[in-house]
């Protein structure tokens, strides 16, 4: 059993590693795209909200960038995972591997990219003159939380698409909606209390909010506001794992 788990992890890591290398050879700028892509969406949001809507949030660029980096990690991973099993029909007909390997490799790929861009977030934070604080000690916990939420959602979506291919398109719409419901370009804390409570049911919104309060204001996260996110990520994980495990040997039969 132990050697089985070891092989499983090895395969996830090796697949992720291969994917990262292959991807880099597909473009001229290669690994540079890991930071160019989020920076480009930062520019778009910044121009739109600073110069068209005249947003006056302090450190607005950094405020935006934190939201963008976290949202992109979640949305990018889930969207790619959704087609990870359905896009591997050839392979899963030939060898038996546990199908959770497909979304998990996508998560690993994007986790590496996320870590790099997150480092960039920290550097920018220090460059604009906000010093590190003890609250940084809570960052690994928050990263773990968004990681678990992403793993759960990715496994659910990966399990649905093979049976229901239209889901991929529906998911695009959901992710688009999530841009507006996650407080990427506004502060949830400024809304009416009932609206705040509703938006914090979205784990991504709650997590982005706490990341900002740590990085921008040096405040410890407010656990109470993370409770829905914790519960939902737990549910996602359980449902995602059960779905993939239940249909593990059914996926190769769908054609």
């Amino acid at each position: 059993m132990n050697s089985g788990l070891f092989k499983f992890l090895n395969l996830v890591l090796y697949r992720a590693n291969s994917e990262l290398r292959s991807e880099a050879t597909r473009t001229y700028a290669g690994y540079l795209w890991w930071i160019l892509e989020p920076l480009m969406s930062l520019v778009i949001y910044y121009v739109a909200f600073k110069y068209i809507f005249h947003r006056e949030t302090p450190h607005f660029a950094l405020f935006l960038f934190i939201g963008i980096v976290l949202y992109r990690f979640f949305a990018g991973t889930v969207t790619r995972s959704a087609t990870s099993i359905s896009g591997s029909t050839g392979l899963i007909q030939l060898v038996y591997i546990h199908k959770s390997i497909f979304p998990l490799s996508v998560v690993m790929v994007n986790l590496v990219k996320f870590m790099v861009t997150f480092l960039l977030v920290l550097i920018i934070t220090w460059l604009v003159g906000i010093p590190p604080s003890w609250a940084y000690l809570a960052l690994p916990g928050l990263v773990a939380l968004i990681l678990l939420t992403t793993v759960g959602a990715s496994m659910i979506c990966a399990a649905i698409t093979p049976f229901f291919p239209d889901f991929r398109l529906i998911l695009d719409t959901i992710m688009h909606l999530l841009v507006f419901l996650s407080g990427i370009f506004f502060d949830i804390g400024n809304l009416s209390p009932s609206m705040q409570a509703i938006l914090r049911l979205n784990p991504i919104a709650a997590i982005i909010e706490q990341f900002r309060s740590i990085l921008l204001y040096g405040r410890w996260p407010e656990l109470k506001q993370l409770v829905p996110a914790l519960i939902i990520s737990g549910v996602f994980l359980a449902v995602g794992w059960l779905l993939i495990h239940r249909f593990n040997r059914n996926f190769p039969k769908i054609g």
């Binding site: 090796y14 290398r21 292959s22 050879t25 038996y96 591997i97 291919p165």
Partner: protein, 228 residues
Amino acid sequence: MKGVAFDLKNVGVCYRKAASLPWKANKFWALHDISFQVHRGETLGVIGRNGAGKSTLLKVLADIIRPDKGSIDRAALTVTMLSLGAGFAPRLTGRKNIFLCGLLLGMDKQHISKRVDDIIALADIGDFIDEPIRHYSSGMRARLGFSIAYYVNTDIILIDEALATGDQAFKEKASGLIKEKIKSDHTVVLVTHSMNLVKDLCDRVIHIENGHSLPELPVEKSIERHLM
């Protein structure tokens, strides 16, 4: 006989079409009723027309899919379907693909590291091993795939017409190696259209028609029935 490797009873497998409406007929039974046993150490041939369900049967044996009816009992043995170049990443070097493909076939990393030079030697692709495999000819790719599969350590080997790879010289070398493996005490299930191969290599033969296994006959008789 050293015990039973597989025991299939009335196995049926049903495929579903994706994106079909639930109230439309979207089921297709590839296997209806298959019963046979595979004993340890023997070489079993599987014959039948195209579309009879031979490949589906191999997938059931490889535990890639589960039967929708009937049952299969399996001994606690490792089973590998010899699939050539499963999961190759075209932008990575041959060397990296040896690891990727080896891990997919269930080898562990140390075993691959130990075998990597043998694999490269058998594939006979020289310096190209450190080039991305999208620059390979299809023959080179097939040779690399075969060489990786050849070094998988497994109790039971499932072969789906995998003997035909690469150019004539390599084909002969490959089928020689496969025959050696088959003649050793490995348990082998061989799906093939070549009756000569069946006559040469198989201890027993299963004949499948339209998803049903026909009553078992001795190898010679079974081939006659198939050719009728």
